[in-house]
Amino acid sequence: MEGGRVTTEGHSDALAPVAESSPAPRPAQRQPTPNSRYNRWLPVFPALIVALVWEISANLFFPQFLPRPSRIVAAIPEVMTDPDFWGAAIDTTLAILEGIAIGLSLGVPVGLILGRYAPARWFSERYLHALNAMPVVAIIPLTTLWLGYSNTMRIFVTALSAFLPITIQMMDGTRKLPTEYLDVARSFLARDRQVWTGVAIPASMPFLISGVQIATGRAMVTGITSEMVAAIQGLGFWVIFEVRSFHHDQGFVGVLFIAALGISLWRTVKWATTRFVPWYRPSID
């Protein structure tokens, strides 16, 4: 959010939706704008304007219980010292991380196998694509029938929303392995294991990354929604509970926290990308 330093280059690969079908963003050719000290403060203005308009219109038009910026800020210390809030925050964060971890540890091997062995792919491809197209929140009601209103249910739906994009991206990445790479490996008499570790896995890394990028966002949404629908201890339920108890300002602090969590997860993935896969470009057709 340090908008002043945001450059076009910095964000050119930010979205990277699906590796094979997103156009390759190129570094923008822009003149560096002079007056950068002034530019650094530009992002402050929208926040100020929004807060002001919100505060005034809320006081004029909206019922007293609805949130407004001054009271949200005043509610921050109260929420930040509330052990219930931290319990909810820890539960949600752990559930989302656990879901992503399960999605990764199942999705990577399954995707690799499906990518390398065509018959397995022909067998399961259509179901994976169908489930991946389906909004995963839609299976929350069904999963409450199976697993009850429980943490297991939350982990299940979170893991599923992470598993699907990771598996599909891995599958596509492994399948689209350029034949020249394999030819080279063959002519150097590489063993099967060496083809895997030396060629197939590194070549599919960019796909894995776009899979993980999609997975984190989806896992977050599904996790929070499942808490809201099934009243599972966590931030989503915490917010809905505060709002229903007419503690809107406290609830909104929860929203800000969830937003911060979403942003940090997303940034972590981006950081890991530049750190561990520096050659990554969103599109490698």
Partner: protein, 257 residues
């Protein structure tokens, strides 16, 4: 690859595909038969229930309600999102001021705003449209912005060398270059918009596919829940492949030759 193996592969592929339908439906049937119906209805019970719900009009009503909200939400997101992105691309200052927030909002799970919208507006179309637009608009804005900003400067140089004015530059260079990016944003927006539609209906609606799901789960009618999930999946696949096809159509000139 020779045509012999190509043909053999196609036969194997279709054969295994058909086999998988039989196997999956069979497993579904067996699992459904071996657990109480409140958990997981059999394949045949689900299909029967889907037919019943179609005849009674439940599914069509729900589809119409959800589909209408989804479509209006998508139209609003596109109509507001693309011009806004172009505006940001034109104004360096505005972009610097807002870009950080747009990425932050893009990464925020928008479902958390639902309780507040419910308190403010209750159950209705408007709060649901807000949820859908919140889900769909940010990928459209950000990918379109990215596309416009990443137009190779050679293209712009050529345009200015041949004396293009601002309007011509937009029409012949920037917009054609940006369309595929906007399409990829719209593809993302469709997926997110579906999430928004269903999640909004869980809380902000008395009708629609989301309510069919919630109602079915509440009555322990697993066949109805499975049937509705099946309908949602079919709609989602159709929409996804539709935008994918549109996007592919715009791909040829995206590499810029």
């Amino acid at each position: 690859m020779t045509s012999m193996t190509g043909r053999g592969e196609r036969v194997a592929r279709i054969g295994i595909g058909l086999l998988s339908v039989v196997v999956v439906a069979g497993i579904w049937q067996l699992v459904g038969a071996s657990v109480p119906e409140i958990y997981f209805a059999t394949f045949t019970a689900t299909i029967t229930r889907a037919v019943e719900m179609t005849i009674s009009g439940e599914i069509l009503d729900a589809l119409a309600a959800s589909g209408f909200a989804f479509l209006v939400g998508m139209v609003i997101s596109i109509v507001l999102g693309i011009p806004f992105a172009l505006l940001l691309a034109r104004s360096d200052r505005l972009r610097r001021a807002l870009e950080g927030y747009l990425y932050a909002l893009y990464a925020t799970p928008m479902v958390v705003f639902i309780p507040f919208l419910f308190a403010l507006m209750g159950v209705g179309l408007i709060p649901r449209l807000i949820v859908i637009v919140l889900h769909a608009i940010f990928p459209i804005i950000l990918t379109t912005l990215e596309g416009t900003l990443s137009t190779p400067h050679q293209f712009l140089d050529v345009a200015s060398a041949y004396g293009s004015n601002e309007r011509q530059t937009w029409r012949d260079v920037l917009i054609p270059y940006t369309v595929p990016f906007a399409m990829s944003g719209i593809r993302q927006a469709v997926g997110r918009g579906l999430v928004g539609t269903v999640a909004a209906e869980f809380f902000l609606s008395a009708t629609g596919l989301g309510q069919l799901l919630i109602g079915g789960a509440f009555r322990f009618d697993s066949a109805a829940v499975l049937a509705t999930t099946l309908v949602i999946t079919i709609v989602a696949i159709t929409l996804t492949s539709l935008v994918q096809r549109l996007e592919d159509r715009f791909t040829p000139w995206r590499e810029g030759g």
